[in-house]
């Protein structure tokens, strides 16, 4: 089409110039094989701008966590603090009881993730490879449990736990996770379901002919082929349990009774109270709570996950592709 336009214009310029104009146009607007410069420029600049906006809060967090009180008040200092102070981190870590809460966060998220993996893989396999009466109802209920807010079942469950005397222990999280009712468990069940559907049925049938039972074929054939699904579910389950504060505070940490269990996220949500008790206990040694200290605390509580993310980034980014949520 461009050629037509060019040729239809009665120009006196030599052919060489025409070719150059053509080339320039091709460079800017692109051709069938290659995208043009203008489009690429637009895409890159948009991506970089939005990327910066995305990272902005994190950068802000990092830069202000190093600042002293004077730097915070000084309007001429925007990003780079006058001196890198680590005392903010020290105070924040001490007030959050960092070592203990980190360990307990890891235990809570890790154990529940393990339970989720076991239960959701079994349930997903049951849904994917067998026909049984009431399968559609089960499916509908699984989706309903995803959409239904947890608040509606929260109060009776709380009473149930307190009757069973497991309130404030890890069992309050393990039991629902073991029965496929944990946080976001419907998503994990659906991931496993989608994955096990793709395991060729011929393989399983061949195993049956060779004398394997249903459980043996599950453990020997289907499970080993579902490693990507296991990785995806493990990562997401870990992250979501790590970041959960509402239910953790209710069941494991205990609202009325302090159980001794705590996580970094809960410590962060009670940061102000924690810090003031810490400041009182140390006396004159601690400065009063300011923006830098709370930013340092925030950074400290996301730091373990960030490290995990950057180490395992490939699995995170490819997780959705591998899990096959979007179909074949």
């Amino acid at each position: 089409m461009q050629r037509n336009m060019q040729s239809s214009k009665p120009r006196l310029s030599p052919e060489e110039r025409q070719i150059r104009v053509d080339k320039f146009k091709k460079f800017m607007m692109g051709s069938k094989e290659k995208d043009g410069f203008l489009k690429m420029f637009l895409i890159y600049s948009l991506l970089i701008c939005i990327g910066f906006i995305y990272v902005y809060p994190i950068l802000y967090m990092i830069s202000s966590s190093f600042m002293s009180l004077d730097d915070l008040l000084d309007s001429s200092i925007k990003w780079l603090p006058s001196s890198f102070r680590l005392s903010n981190y020290l105070q924040a870590a001490k007030s959050m009881d960092y070592g203990r809460s980190l360990w307990q966060s890891v235990v809570i998220a890790g154990v529940t993730t393990l339970c989720n993996l076991i239960s959701c893989s079994v349930i997903g396999y049951g849904l994917a490879s067998f026909n049984f009466p009431g399968k559609k109802v089960a499916f509908g209920l699984i989706i309903l449990t995803f959409v239904l807010p947890s608040q509606i079942t929260m109060i009776p469950t709380y009473v149930l736990y307190s009757n069973m005397k497991i309130l404030g222990t890890l069992w309050a999280f393990i039991l629902p996770a073991l029965t496929g009712m944990g946080i976001n468990a419907p998503i994990f069940i659906l991931i496993f379901w989608q994955f096990f559907r793709q395991v060729p049925r011929v393989l399983v049938e061949a195993a049956h002919i060779d004398g394997a039972g249903y459980f043996k074929s599950f453990f020997r054939i289907s499970l080993p082929s579902a490693v990507p699904a296991f990785i995806t579910v493990a990562l997401f389950s870990f992250v979501w349990y790590w970041n959960e504060s509402y239910l953790t505070e209710l069941y494991v940490h205990g609202v009325m009774t302090e159980s001794g269990w705590t996580t970094l996220i809960i410590q962060l949500s009670n940061f102000q109270a924690n810090y003031s008790t810490y400041a009182q206990s140390t006396g004159a040694g601690a400065t009063s709570l300011n923006e830098s200290i709370s930013m340092a605390g925030t950074l400290l509580s996301v730091l373990p996950l960030m490290i995990m993310y950057f180490v395992l980034q490939r699995y995170f980014v490819e997780s959705v592709d591998r899990s096959g949520i979007t179909g074949e």
């Binding site: 991506l47 802000y60 067998f130 959409v147 509402y246 949500s269």
Partner: protein, 347 residues
């Protein structure tokens, strides 16, 4: 998929031993139910029982005394009290509804835009995906609360103050406040779109490129390709993302209502407590389900043009049949009437 294959493999075996087939099916069903046992237990203990009990709680006033819980039946008393005299619940609920209605489409459209851009042939694709997925790791109630509290959640280059002022001057306060909140916490709202971007991206990569080529040959532009090929193909993913985003926002700690419910649960006052909180939870859950239904419904309401035509044709056929029947009945009736008249006149 499994269904198809079983039906395909059926006829081969059916010729020889028919009875065995039935027992195999029964055995398979039994095995399936065995695998589902954990879920059945979970559904009974952590879904059915709490649902029924919480409905019972919602109809009662529950006080906790050293002797145990005392129930006093109220009927719908809790609900009327929440709706008529609770100072916080209704305004918070309206806030939640409006901000969800705004932010969910914003998040999904934004995720789609980013996914479309990442789907182009660009360099550093992995790096950009890394950045856009990073918030998934960080997003949690307390951390968002901290960041929003320090105003790190707003785009400083954008003058959000002016936008919120302009909005509040035009709209009534009850609508303007949530809209203003959405604008002033724009970054953290966009942070919710990490998983959605990945879902869209992997859906976009699975669209068959020969479809685009065919459309190009027929003279379609990029713009037309987007509306006629891309959007219809990834429509299921759009619904999925809408539902996922709504659920995610509803369960987030930043949501004022779920904090309110927890506070009511442990409130020591005589009219609040477990029953009152349960009633709140029921109202809130109904609203969430309605919102999810709304988003899913808006997307699913427009069917395939082909299906629409088929449905229309079927409806027309039915109508015609009905008319035919009516005509026949009338004819029969008239014939009878005339026959009677004739006999009368003859007599």
């Amino acid at each position: 998929m499994t269904k198809k294959e079983t039906t395909q493999s059926k006829p081969k075996k059916e010729k020889k031993v028919h009875i065995r087939m039935g027992s195999l099916e029964r055995r398979e069903a039994l095995a399936g139910l065995t695998f589902m046992i954990p879920w059945f237990i979970g559904a009974a203990v952590f879904l059915a029982y709490p649902l029924i009990t919480s409905f019972w709680y919602a109809l009662n006033n529950i006080r906790i005394t050293p002797m145990g819980k005392t129930f006093r039946f109220l009927g719908y008393g809790n609900f009327t009290q929440i709706l008529l005299s609770d100072q916080q619940f209704l305004p918070d609920l309206v806030d939640y509804i409006i901000s969800t209605l705004i932010s969910v489409p914003v998040i999904v459209v934004f995720a789609l835009l980013i996914a479309m851009m990442l789907n182009q042939k660009i360099k550093l694709k992995g790096f950009f995906r890394l950045i856009f997925f990073l918030p998934v790791i960080i997003v949690s109630g307390p951390i968002l609360g901290m960041l929003n509290g320090q105003n790190a959640g707003s785009i400083s280059a954008l003058d959000t103050q002016a936008i919120t002022q302009a909005i509040s001057s035009v709209l009534p306060a009850i609508v303007a406040k949530p809209i203003g909140d959405v604008f002033s916490n724009m970054v953290t709202i966009l942070w919710y779109s990490g998983v959605q971007i990945l879902i869209f991206l992997s859906a976009l990569q699975k669209i068959n490129s020969s479809m685009y080529e065919a459309a190009r040959i027929d003279g379609a532009s990029d713009w037309e390709c987007f509306w006629k090929i891309t959007l219809p193909t990834i429509k299921p993913m759009i619904v999925l993302n809408l539902v996922y985003t709504t659920v995610f926002i509803s369960n987030n700690d930043q949501n004022a209502i779920i904090v309110l419910i927890k506070a009511a649960m442990f409130s020591g006052t005589s009219e609040k407590g477990y029953g009152y909180a349960a009633a709140m939870a029921w109202l809130y859950s109904l609203v969430v389900l309605l919102l999810v239904g709304l988003f899913a419904g808006v997307m699913l309401i427009r069917k395939d043009p082909y299906e629409q035509e088929v449905k229309k044709a079927k409806r027309d056929m039915k109508k015609e049949k009905r008319q035919l029947k009516r005509m026949r009945r009338r004819q029969a009736r008239n014939a009878k009437k005339y026959a009677k008249l004739e006999t009368k006149t003859v007599a």
